[in-house]
């Protein structure tokens, strides 16, 4: 019966192609815009997230805020304490940074000087181009060695002959440091500007530079395969309860990515909801055309009733016709919407993310529109008096 009804519906649709097409247009446009918005929203979210992920999703940076309370807590031992209390942390790297004047013969520039541990580069996937990052023994022996970021090296040693040379770093007084490595270029990750910094051993920094009363920041590396977002949340709740929320700031690409995702998906859901209103308008168009169709086919309905079609059978026939109309519109809309998204994504340079769930949503919604707006005309058809319908001219 359902199959027969579908065949009948297609017959009725092809009997008046132009009219069917025009009445479908509302549904087509509605579905196409919902699909385009959801697909583009998803694509935008993904490309934003991708950018954030590339910058180091597995890192969480903690910045202590200078205060009496903080200086008691954010000590060198803090990393160990954090790892004891929060699961899924691979390592915690203390970093002290300040800006200093660096001189090489006649050239001098201002650069960030960071005192870091010897495994800093490896943990951050930061690779040397020449030489090597300083070693653990450099750190333990407070050696005055330095590793240059790529742009610092370029500026001070345009000839690329930095390795083994001595540069002066001014902080209160000039100290001489031997260049042991030059790092390859690395894109900045949030607050970390790699290329314009130079790195000296952590202990050297503490001894030769200024003895900091508090560690500048901690770079927390999340364990491989762990959920960075959860770890960052765990760190937040641990710090809030043990030290207080005003004693630190926390940067986590994961939480930023999460926030970006929430914003874009909220935004695109909002837009899709507006576009869905046009689906309702399209539905009213369907109802209109179904009413016309029922009126035109009054005699047919009379004949069918005379042959023994029950009210439910007639109702089923016309509801099916409405649903076939809206689903056809929905499918065309899905096609058009996807095409449109593909075009826009290509234009903007996002990689297209096809959201199949939106296909299901659109198909389901247009079916619902068909049932809802087909109901009244179909009910009208089913309630026609057989004799009046048969005598209808």
């Amino acid at each position: 019966m359902i199959w027969e009804n579908i065949k009948l519906a297609f017959k009725a649709m092809s009997a008046s192609k132009m009219r069917s097409l025009l009445s479908l247009l509302g549904i087509v446009i509605g579905v196409a815009s919902v699909i385009a918005i959801l697909t583009l929203g998803e694509s935008a979210t993904n490309s934003i997230t991708q950018t954030i992920v590339e910058s180091g999703l597995e890192m969480v940076t903690i910045f202590p805020v200078r205060s009496e309370k903080a200086s008691n807590e954010f000590t060198e031992d803090f990393g160990n304490r954090l790892m004891r209390n929060v699961a899924d942390i691979k390592t915690v790297l203390p970093v002290n940074s300040s800006t200093a004047l660096i001189r090489m013969e006649q050239k001098s520039i201002n650069a960030t000087v960071s005192g870091v541990l010897s495994n800093y580069a490896e943990i951050l996937n930061y690779t040397p181009e020449q030489g090597a990052f300083f070693t653990m023994s450099d750190n333990l022996a407070n050696r005055q060695v330095v590793v240059l970021g790529s742009s610092v090296a370029e500026e001070l040693f345009p000839g690329g002959d930095a390795l083994g040379k001595y540069i002066s770093i001014f902080r209160n007084q000039a100290k001489s440091y031997q260049v042991v490595g030059v790092m390859s270029s690395k894109d900045p990750s949030f607050n970390l500007q790699f290329n314009s910094a130079v790195y000296i051993p952590y202990n050297t920094y503490s001894q030769r530079f200024i003895k900091p009363t508090i560690v500048g920041s901690y770079v927390v590396r999340v364990a491989d395969g762990a959920d960075a977002l959860k770890v960052s949340d765990d760190i937040t709740s641990y710090l809030d309860s043990s030290i207080g929320s005003d004693a630190y700031r926390l940067f986590s690409p994961a939480s930023l990515a999460d926030m970006a995702q929430q914003i874009t998906s909220t935004f695109s859901s909002f837009l899709a909801a507006i576009a869905a209103i046009s689906l309702l308008v399209g539905g009213i168009g369907i109802m209109n055309i179904m009413l016309v169709s029922v009126a035109e086919r009054t005699r047919e309905i009379g004949v069918r009733k005379a042959m023994g079609a029950s009210p439910w059978t007639i109702m089923g026939q016309f509801i099916t016709e409405a649903i076939v109309l809206t689903i056809t519109g929905g499918l065309i809309g899905i096609g058009l919407g996807t095409l449109l998204s593909w075009f826009v994504a290509d234009l903007v340079g996002w990689s297209l993310y096809i959201s199949y769930s939106s296909f299901i949503f659109a198909a389901g919604f247009s079916t619902l529109v068909g049932v809802f707006f087909g109901w009244y005309p179909a009910m009208k058809a089913s309630k026609l008096d057989p004799i009046e319908a048969l005598n209808y001219e």
Binding site: R299, K305, M307
Partner: protein
């Protein structure tokens, strides 16, 4: 003694036309036995079509009882009446009333669809019905590709296909020329000879004379 397939007891059908009550049928009692060939005659406005609509369960009486093939129709739901129309009555109309967008075979298959029959069986039975009325070679034609006589044959095949106990025809020759009309009436005669109960409504005496029993309706009452 064969059983009565149509039984009407004091049937009244009133219509409200504005402020007036039109008594289309005003107390009709009638019974038709299985296998009878009956003509219902009367001038236009006499109520003969109303009578036929009531027998065919397309309409319900204002008062009175109607029994079709043993089923009392009083108080039946729309769905139950549809079932009677589908199973027990076959209609033939003056204006054929074929569905224009589908071919002859599909037209004849339609009542079987409402009877809930499978596609293969529907096709088989519809073919047989069309062959019975002599249209085995016109099955794939649409109504607008058929002559008036052929259309009426398709309509008769459609009325027959579900093997109803009653064949009801309302002015079946009214839209046909005399010769073709005669052929259609001969077909009804043959079908009656095969044992079917046939009721024809007509105002044409020549047509009515072919029937074995004539019933006259005037001003909503019988005058037999």
């Amino acid at each position: 003694m064969s059983k009565e397939v149509i039984k009407l007891h004091d049937v009244k059908r009133y219509f409200l036309m504005g402020e007036y009550i039109v008594k289309a049928l005003d107390g009709i009692s009638l019974s038709i036995k299985a296998g009878e060939f009956t003509a219902i005659m009367g001038p236009s406005g006499s109520g003969k079509s109303t009578l036929m609509n009531l027998i065919g369960c397309l309409d319900t009486p204002t008062e009175g009882l109607i029994e079709i093939d043993g089923d009392e129709t009083l108080g039946m739901s729309e769905g139950a009446l549809a079932y009677i129309r589908n199973q027990k009555v076959g209609f033939v109309f003056q204006q054929f009333n074929l569905l224009g967008k589908i071919n002859a075979l599909e037209n004849v298959m339609t009542p079987l669809l409402y009877a809930g029959m499978g596609a293969r069986e529907r096709k088989e039975k519809a073919k047989m019905a069309l062959e019975r009325v002599g249209l085995g070679d016109r099955m794939r034609h649409r109504p607008n590709e058929l002559s008036g006589g052929q259309k009426q044959r398709v309509a008769i095949a459609r009325a027959l296909v579900n093997n109803p106990s009653i064949l009801l025809a309302d002015e079946p020759t009214g839209a046909l020329d005399t010769h073709t009309g005669l052929q259609i009436m001969e077909l009804f005669d043959e079908l009656n000879a095969e044992g079917r109960t046939v009721v024809v409504v007509t105002h044409d005496h020549d047509v009515a004379s072919l029937a074995k029993r004539q019933i006259r309706v005037r001003d909503g009452r019988l005058e037999e």
